[in-house]
């Protein structure tokens, strides 16, 4: 009986240590995703400030008003971000992680074809510059979008050729891009 009690006590004292050792590992991507989220949030904060300095765009039947509001917002954001360069949001670590997320999805039947359909490959673009209004927007297949982190309202992912861009929909501005994400 004494033997059983001692064995039980020894096992019980070992338990906390065992639990500490078996603690589930931290998701290696979580840190990268958090970093991405913070960088995007910072951009959204900057856009909000640019937004607040002008009257809000309302629905209109005057197309000229739409264009003027979009350009004015783009100019205010552009000025506030200067100088902006590739990698400010998509750091090398984030870009590598995103490529890993997207790669298996691109192997799904029809996915690459959908992305390439009317994809404006070869279109020159730059960070903090406008998305050329005459160009089509690549289709983003649902499985690719589901694999990527969710974005705040009116920020979106698109492909330009093989590059994955981050686009501000309201300002029609290219925020950043990952080169050759479609490989």
């Amino acid at each position: 009986m004494t033997h059983i009690i001692i064995t039980t006590l020894v096992l019980a004292s070992a338990l906390p240590h065992a639990y500490a050792v078996q603690k589930p590992p931290v998701n290696p991507g979580a840190k990268v995703l958090l970093d991405f989220k913070e960088r995007v949030d910072k951009y959204v904060e900057l856009r909000k400030k640019a937004d607040d300095s002008a009257p809000p765009l309302k629905k209109t039947d005057d197309a000229a008003e739409l264009r003027a509001a979009q350009q004015a917002l783009a100019e205010r954001i552009g000025a506030a971000r200067t100088p902006a360069k590739q990698g400010e949001i998509f750091t090398p670590e984030i870009a590598a992680y995103f490529r890993k997320l997207v790669r298996p999805e691109l192997k799904e039947t029809g996915t690459k074809g959908a992305v390439r359909d009317d994809n404006p490959a070869g279109m020159p673009f730059q960070v903090n510059g406008p998305y050329p209004s005459k160009e089509a927007l690549s289709t983003m297949p649902p499985n690719v979008l589901a694999s990527l982190p969710r974005l705040p309202k009116d920020i979106e992912y698109r492909f330009v050729g093989k590059h994955l861009i981050l686009r501000d929909v309201r300002a029609n501005l290219i925020i950043d891009y990952i080169p050759n994400a479609l490989n």
């Binding site: 629905k59 209109t60 739409l66 264009r67 499985n143």
Partner: protein, 298 residues
């Protein structure tokens, strides 16, 4: 007294339009029941080129209204190709459909891959400032406009919620990319189909209209759902329908638009070319809820 040259020009233009309309209306034979209590609407897809073909289809669309008083027009996307400045809106939308717009006709747009998402704030597109939206044009019918170019998880969740709430209404979805087609984009639809079709089946969607492919195709019913491809209101990819066992009827040698009539138990359709010829027409019975459930079961 002679009218001034500008006035004379406007008079001549009006006369030419009237003569054109009379000719166009005479050329069209209505193949729809045209019941007083039905829901009537028209469909144009890939319309925003500003080309002669767009204006010809627009004239036929206007002429059709003399015989078939449709209440609104659904736009399948690519509403404005190659730019969205104010001149683009004028040339590719306001001018070709001006007589309809002047008469108070409502257009409801979906976004295509050539559209600037900012079009959602353009009032005449009736998108309520949203990339995707729903409206109920008549008791018993609900229409869902989706953005198939960017089908992200929030949109899918929204659709599921709205479909659930729509109860026993006719459920009509429209968006740019077809889930089924026999054209060059057929295979590209697989990821979108994998996402949307289970939802459509689960919630009993009745009919789906899309564009993107620049022709007309009526698809044989797929798991109890009717699909139409109508992307030739200004663009044409001649001979692009590679007839498969999907095709019930196709037309890829001319431009076209569609007229739709919904009664309690059936959908009536007519596709009309830019020459005023009927290229397809018919009646599709509404699939019962019981039958739909069979398809929804995995």
């Amino acid at each position: 007294m002679q009218p001034c040259p500008a006035l004379r020009l406007r008079l001549m233009t009006a006369l030419a339009l009237a003569a054109g309309l009379l000719g166009a209306a005479a050329a069209q034979d209505l193949a729809l029941p045209n019941r007083p209590d039905s829901l009537k609407f028209a469909i144009i897809g890939d319309s925003g080129t500003g080309s002669d073909s767009q204006y010809r289809v627009a004239q036929q669309l206007l002429a059709a209204r003399q015989k078939f008083p449709y209440e609104f027009v659904l736009m399948m996307g690519d509403n404005l190709y190659s730019g969205s400045g104010s001149k683009d809106y004028q040339k590719k939308f306001e001018k070709p459909y001006q007589p309809l717009l002047d008469s108070g006709m409502k257009f409801y747009a979906a976004l295509g891959n050539h559209d600037n998402p900012d079009e959602r704030n353009y009032k005449p597109f009736n998108m309520s400032g949203q990339r995707y939206y729903t409206f109920k044009p008549k008791a018993g019918v609900r229409i869902f406009a989706l953005d198939s170019n960017y089908m992200d998880p929030p949109q899918v969740q929204w659709l599921e919620k709205e479909l659930t709430a729509s109860g026993s209404d006719w459920k009509i979805c429209f968006f740019h990319h077809p889930l089924y087609s026999s054209g060059m984009h057929g295979d590209e639809s697989l990821p979108l189909r994998a996402q949307l079709e289970p939802l459509f089946l689960k919630h009993g969607v009745d009919v789906v209209f899309a564009g993107h492919e620049h022709f007309y195709e009526r698809i044989k019913p797929q798991k109890g759902i009717y699909y139409f491809v109508s992307g030739g209101a200004a663009k044409l990819r001649e001979g692009d329908v590679n007839k498969t066992n999907l095709t019930a009827k196709s037309f890829d040698t001319g431009y076209h638009f569609m007229l739709i009539e919904i009664t309690k138990d059936a959908l009536h359709f007519q596709a009309i070319s830019d020459q005023g010829k009927t290229v397809d027409s018919g009646t599709l019975p509404r699939v019962s809820d019981q039958e739909k459930k069979k398809f929804a079961t995995p």
